[in-house]
Amino acid sequence: MSSPLLEVRDLDVRIGQSHILHRLSFSVQSGGVTGLLGRNGVGKTTTLRGILGLAERTGEIIMDGEPIGGLRTHEVVQRGIAYVPEDRDVFAGLTVEENLRLAERPGNELRYDLVYDLFPELRTRGKQRAGTLSGGQQQMVAIARALLNGGNRLLLVDEPTKGLAPLVVRNVVDALKRAAEVVTILLVEQNLSVAHKLARDAIVLDQGSVGYVGTVDELMSDPALARRHLGLSSTGTAHQP
């Protein structure tokens, strides 16, 4: 097997008095979508924030052979890791065009063609303030922002379908599928049907540590395994703690 695109070793994150991640180690292979799964509150979002340096962390993070664990957030991103946060975090007072322009980095190829091909609506809404867009449209802006820079090789995507209507979920899934042909995606997703459609490999977190590593197919086809790690019932619905 080739060396992984991203390698996380002994990642430890504490927020206030809470110890969220306990010496977490996993790797993400280049290409396609890897699902970072687990029940609510096991530290999936914190893992993404820890990789980016948005949460204070210790441990090693290696991107394409280069240690990035000691770098600040903007330096991590400049190494080719982009972020689509859980709450989209578009800049509400800026227009769609301005949101995208912020993601441009000098010296890198820009993927405007890909972005407008995936989300044609963004072209027509370029002058509209992002704060006035619907949730689905804001998600498009957030994904487009992460995809835009040609230097980005890994997208950390946090619950992209959260709170979206079923039709919009389908669009977002299609867009991420096509995006995965260009970049590698580490996907946090609570909607297991979405995770199943998108991800090939799965890393399941359990109380701040890795509980399972394998393929999503294996995980979903073994009811005992799924129940133990994801709290799935025999009907395939997740029990929330």
């Binding site: 903007h74 975090d89 800049f91 007072g93 800026l94 322009r101 993601a103 820079n149």
Partner: protein, 291 residues
């Protein structure tokens, strides 16, 4: 009618001064969440540096002395702000209480230093002939300094809006006012924008320090502190992080102050500004958050 015109233009001139201080304060708080109590010190330091540097020239050639003083004050204000941000504020980004203590300390120390060097008596400014004269508007002679202050404030407003709306750094500042962490997560070094905004704020404070000497005819060590109080009020009323809001609020505060000081009683205008602040906070309790 003529008194109203005079009060209105005098209020707008004073509002121009408030705006020059408040715009920097507003951007600094909006982007960096730093409550810069040393902003008045930048105003005072720049005014005294400019006065000292041009004092030998003031009687010989007041116009050139004034132009040189203006440039020196802007540079001194910017430089002082840059040093303040790099050496004192930056190490304390994660410690807001530390920032407040440091900026209050700098404010007190700067005034004491100025008084130690120059004494507490005001220093007269020799102004160019045009600035000592008046222009008759609707039959009332309006001091030219008021008109000058209005023109400079409008010019600075235009420059700031151009910077914010038409440049990449302006875009970063506007985005950073909304969500600093997300700006970093787009690969942008937001701390560089902090330094830039702090320096721009210092330049505007320096300009205000020098123009306050032009407006009042003298400079004194306590002026920066007293202006800072009104500037804080303007910033809260205008919305933190909003330059346009600061401009409108500065004009409203200064005009209300002038009219009530004249028509009610001296001092009532100043007091009314505090009432205006209280009313704003009651009607818009989130005024302390970015606009």
């Amino acid at each position: 009618m003529s008194t109203v015109i005079l009060l209105l233009l005098t209020g707008l001139g004073l509002g121009g001064l408030y705006f020059l201080i408040a715009s920097g304060l507003s951007l600094i708080w909006g982007l960096m969440r730093v409550l810069n109590f040393a902003h008045g010190a930048l105003f005072t330091i720049a005014a005294y540096v400019a006065w000292s540097a041009t004092a030998p020239l003031q009687n010989a050639n007041p116009l050139w002395a004034w132009i040189a003083g203006l440039v020196i004050a802007v540079v001194a204000g910017g430089l002082a702000a840059l040093l303040l941000e790099v050496f004192l504020i930056r190490p304390l980004y994660a410690r807001p209480i530390g920032q407040i203590l440091v900026t209050v300390g700098v404010a007190l120390a700067a005034v004491a230093l100025i008084e130690g060097i120059y004494g507490s008596d005001p220093k007269q400014m020799v102004l160019p002939t045009w600035m000592s004269a008046s222009t008759v508007i609707f039959g009332e002679p309006v001091p030219n300094t008021r008109l000058l202050l209005i023109a400079v404030a409008l010019l600075v407003l235009g420059v700031l809006l151009f910077f914010l709306r038409r440049t990449r750094y302006g875009l970063i500042v506007r985005a950073g006012v909304e969500n600093r962490a997300m700006v970093s997560a787009l690969g942008i070094n937001v701390e560089r924008a902090f330094t830039l905004v702090f320096t721009i704020g210092g330049m505007a404070a320096g300009l205000a320090g020098f123009l306050s000497g032009t407006y009042f005819g003298y400079i004194d060590p306590a002026r920066g502190t007293s202006m800072l109080i009104f500037a804080f009020i303007v910033v809260v009323i205008g919305g933190l992080g909003s330059v346009t809001g600061s401009a409108v609020a500065a004009a409203v505060v200064a005009i209300v102050q002038q009219f009530l000081n004249f028509y009610a009683a001296p001092g009532i205008g100043d007091f009314s500004v505090v009432i205006l602040l209280a009313a704003t906070l009651l009607l818009r309790p989130r005024s302390g958050e970015p606009a």
